[in-house]
């Protein structure tokens, strides 16, 4: 399972880098883009943990996570497009 350990380490670094962009993004769209990437990284983490622990329950969590990430992105895009504050 050392391959899964390497994968989880890479995913942890990716999540930290996305969190840096969420904290330091100059405008609102930067933060939304980074949060979307963070949700995709979290989907990878959930699937990898499900493989490591040899259980199939976490795939349903991944379904809900993918749906919620898309809905949040579209909601933020509508918010920006309708004149919400961009800073």
């Amino acid at each position: 399972m050392s391959t899964a350990a390497v994968a989880l380490a890479l995913l942890g670094c990716a999540a930290a880098l996305c969190a840096v962009r969420v904290a330091a993004g100059p405008n609102f769209v930067d933060r939304v883009v980074a949060a979307d990437a963070l949700a995709a990284v979290l989907l990878n983490v959930v699937l990898t943990v499900g493989v490591v622990w040899n259980t199939r329950d976490y795939v349903d969590v991944a379904v809900v996570l993918a749906a919620l990430a898309f809905v949040g992105t579209v909601a933020a895009a509508r918010f920006v497009s309708r004149g919400g504050p961009l800073a």
């Binding site: 962009r21 769209v29 979307d36 990284v41 699937l47 199939r56 993918a66 509508r78």
Partner: protein, 99 residues
């Protein structure tokens, strides 16, 4: 089959790491949107194929993959369109007047 699944999971994690690096190093909002729209999709696809192979099939992974391939370009396009219209002060379609 488990080794192949591990390789797919590792490839997905590597793609996600590349997405994180690009998210920090790129200097423009639309460039970062480009990274998040493509590399992230490949990373999630790798993890989904790996999980599908490891667990020996299942409809959830296929459903997530199809959903992701359909909605990731839609979400990226919605964000880019919203940013462009906001920066250039274009009205929202249809032009109802309250935007």
């Amino acid at each position: 089959m488990r080794e192949v699944a591990s390789l797919f999971l590792l490839a997905g994690a590597a793609f996600s790491f590349v997405a994180g690096v690009g998210m920090v190093r790129y200097r423009d909002t639309l460039s970062r949107l480009h990274v998040a729209g493509k590399v992230t999709t490949f990373g999630a696809a790798g993890a989904l194929v790996g999980s599908w192979l490891f667990h020996g099939g299942g409809w959830q992974e296929v459903a997530i993959l199809v959903f992701l391939l359909l909605t990731s370009p839609a979400g990226s396009h919605a964000l880019a369109r919203a940013l462009t219209r906001r920066v250039h002060r274009l009205p929202e379609w249809p032009y109802s007047g309250d935007s």
